[in-house]
Amino acid sequence: MAGPRPDERPQPTARRNAQGIRIDPDAEAEPAQRTAVISALVDHEPGVLSRVSGLFSRRQFNIESLTVGPTTVEGHARITLVIHETEPGIDQAKKQLGKLKPVIALGELGDNAVRSELVLLKVRGDEPDKVHAITEMYEGRTLDAGPRTITVEITGHERKIDDAVDAFRQFGIIEISRTGQTALERGDSPTTPGEEPGHSAATDDATPNYDD
């Protein structure tokens, strides 16, 4: 074959980064990661959670938490996912999730959304008064109290839970169980696109319409 060797050929000097984005050499920076809360309405059918979690594990998305539960609509469930990724990674995660057949609708929640998680903490029962005081401080509940252990429940924003866990460390935490975040958009804003807010199957016959 003819033609110049690889090192003698004209080659472009431009480059792309790992996300395939063209790099401006003056502004090149490592892509920052951020935390995204994604809410997905899904068909409430066997295997849906494993499809979602399997998708996230095989595509190597960095998942922080995942919660799931039924909604007011029969046959629907809501999955709330928290991921920590770069912007293109979050975008890709949302698009891959949207491809799954059981996914009806999905959206990313804004900073203003209501976010909450629940933690159960089992601590040593040597100082019940102090434990009770901390529990009150974090608006928690004592679920079980015995001579050796006390188990409390705290709910709230992730930061509040983190702070509460820190506060309980002084007593010696024996066991801990956190649910991960669940979240809804505030006010009339739908949590996933097209989702109508405010209906309850118990008080309102109207079925939420997700097709709008």
Binding site: M1, A2, G3, P4, R5, P6, D7, R9, P10, Q11, P12, T13, A14, R15, R16, N17, A18, Q19, G20, I21, R22, P46, G47, S50, R51, G54, L55, R58, P88, D91, Q92, K95, Q96, G98, K99, L100, K101, I104
Partner: protein
């Protein structure tokens, strides 16, 4: 809904009635499965019998669907895949539970990687035994979840026909892919008199073929301004039946074209605008064009790493216009500056309307032509030396028409077939691209043969190692008397591995040397096929003529130069434009 009094007797005795399945009530779940396939106009299915799928096979007994029994379920999956590629409708394969289902897995994964529409039906142990590790039980939906577009566990005889119909329709809608329905034996045996609904994909799985007008306008505008525009046509152009629109677009605006390997056939390789295919073993001129373009119009490609090499050096100066029906492909591997989500043909027509002028690319076209002359695809022919594989490929190409279909296994032979056969029509190159499945060639040829008109030639290029992986399917080709020609480019090596060992492992040929190869021409005769052998150049013409003329399966054992390697080569993760033309350039 039909009210037939005795559906079982109807189906068994009246072939016409069974063909018109929607008007005849099925007797059981299995009959509903077959009725669903019939109402989807399935003509051919590939599979292997077995315990848990027996009710479905029993229902096929009185069906108009032609069933081809394969030697191994992997062969059934590949044959169905190739059948789907050639016909443009999902191929269907069947297997029993457990090992039958797991044997399909490679073929399903292959179809998934190449976005090939396919429906797999697997038997399953009876529902009440699921989860008990029963005989021949496997969690088939669990195993195949990552490699299917969607899979279904059928749980009700009354709806199983609807489920199969939906799975069939889902496989081909939007971005194609494999679907699977797992059929517990009790569901197949369970009584039902409900005729299945017509096959239809769920509404939310149907993408809008038309792209957003603003996206199209933005893309049109950047293409108009480009000085070095380049079309990159991928498998989506072929699968989306958009070759007419793609050809018209490139010719109308005088834009050079490169394809991906799955995109081979989307644009005629003998056209002046065509630079052939780009990527690891693509042409030097295609890879130079990729490296230097300022506007890459990528249609129906997922920017696989065998195409891009290192993403950092891929078309680094280009505005990327990316057209794809699957939004998740946009900016997955290469960032799309101008994303356009929609059907390839529809979007190309939209672009055509939106573009007010053609880019001024005269100099660029001249540059591409110069590269074509600078880095030609050629090889040395020395009459004293063993036959070069490229020569064999070219000889078969010359002896067959434009509509001949080439299937391949995976390895060096696949690259030579892709490089030295001049493809001009879509759906004529049927290969394992994304998964790189050795052994795809022969069952692929069987699927292609059953899909294509009788007068089209089917030539399978295989390697010695690749051929051995599914050689048992030769028994199927003989039994069905399928007119296919298998050309084994035999170098007694796992050649591509050997090539890499030479380049990157200091020539240590660990487990790549096959000095115990059978004589494939004699093996072919043992199967009942015709066998031919090529050892020198002067035998090539006669053997090509005889093998193609033989009306049945033939195997040409072509002993090629064992030292021949595949070039050009972009090293793994390297820059497209830095392809090596010889080993010392790696």
């Amino acid at each position: 809904m039909s009210e037939s009094a005795n559906p079982a007797a109807d189906a068994a005795e009246d072939e016409e009635a069974s063909a018109d399945a929607t008007t005849v009530a099925p007797a059981n779940g299995a009959a509903a499965v077959v009725a669903a396939l019939e109402s989807a106009d399935v003509e051919t299915a590939f599979g292997v019998q077995g315990g848990a799928i027996m009710p479905v096979y029993d229902a096929l007994y009185s069906s108009s669907i032609e069933h081809v029994t394969m030697a191994h379920e992997q062969g059934a999956a590949h044959a169905a895949d190739a059948y789907g590629v050639v016909t443009g409708t999902p191929g269907v394969c069947l297997a029993t539970s457990g090992p039958g289902a797991t044997n399909l897995v490679t073929g399903i994964a292959d179809a998934s990687m190449d976005s090939d529409a396919m429906l797999a039906l697997t038997g399953q142990v009876p529902s009440h035994m699921v989860g008990s590790d029963a005989f021949q039980e496997t969690d088939t939906t669990g195993v195949t979840a990552p490699i299917t577009k969607h899979n279904y566990f059928a749980s009700d005889s009354k709806t199983v026909g609807d489920v199969v119909g939906e799975a069939f329709a889902l496989a081909e809608v939007g971005r194609p892919g494999p679907t699977l329905v797992d059929l517990p034996k009790d569901v197949s045996f369970g009584e039902t008199d409900r005729a299945p609904k017509l096959p239809e994909a769920p509404a939310r799985s149907k993408p809008d073929p038309e792209a957003d007008a603003e996206e199209v306008e933005a893309a049109a505008s950047v293409i108009e301004r480009a000085e070095k525009p380049l079309c990159l046509f991928g498998g989506g152009v072929v699968k989306g039946d958009a070759t007419d629109e793609a050809r018209a677009f490139a010719r109308e605006h005088g834009i050079p074209v490169v394809t991906t390997m799955p995109g081979i056939g989307s644009f005629p390789e003998d056209d002046d605008l065509c630079l052939s295919w780009a990527g690891m073993h693509g042409t030097g001129y295609a890879n130079m064009a990729i490296s230097h373009t300022d506007c890459l119009i990528a249609v129906g490609t997922r920017f696989d790493d065998r195409l891009t090499g290192g993403v950092d050096t891929f078309a680094p100066g280009a505005d990327v216009v990316h057209v794809d029906i699957d939004p998740a492909e946009i900016s997955k591997n290469v960032h799309a500056d101008y994303p356009v989500v929609g059907d390839a043909g529809t979007v190309l027509e939209q672009l055509e309307v939106a573009m007010e002028r053609s880019p001024d690319a005269k100099e660029w076209c001249e540059q591409c032509t110069a590269w074509r002359e600078e880095y030609p695809m050629d090889y040395a022919v020395d009459a004293d030396e063993p036959v070069k594989p490229q020569f064999v490929v070219e000889a078969f190409d010359a002896a067959t028409g434009d509509d001949a279909i080439v299937t391949t296994g995976v390895g060096q032979h696949q690259m030579w077939a892709a490089q030295y056969w001049t493809f001009t029509e879509p759906r004529t190159f049927v290969s394992s691209h994304g998964l790189g499945t050795m052994g795809y060639g022969l069952p692929g040829a069987i699927g292609a043969r059953l899909a294509a008109d009788d007068d089209r030639e089917i030539v399978c290029f295989d390697g010695d190692g690749s051929f051995l992986m599914t050689i048992q399917e030769l028994s199927v080709a003989v039994r069905e008397n399928l007119d296919i020609t298998v050309v084994v480019l035999n170098n007694e090596y796992i050649g591509m591995v050997r090539q890499w060992q030479d380049a990157f492992f200091e020539g240590r040929h660990m487990a790549s040397e096959y000095d115990w190869m059978p004589e494939f021409d004699k093996l072919a005769e043992a199967f009942g096929a015709r066998g031919f052998r090529i050892d020198s150049y002067d035998e090539v013409a006669d053997v090509v003529g005889e093998a193609l003329a033989y009306d049945g399966p033939s195997v040409v054992d072509a002993h090629i130069d064992p030292r021949e390697n595949v070039y050009p080569m972009v090293s793994s993760g390297g820059a497209n434009g830095e392809f090596a033309l010889t080993e010392d350039q790696l």
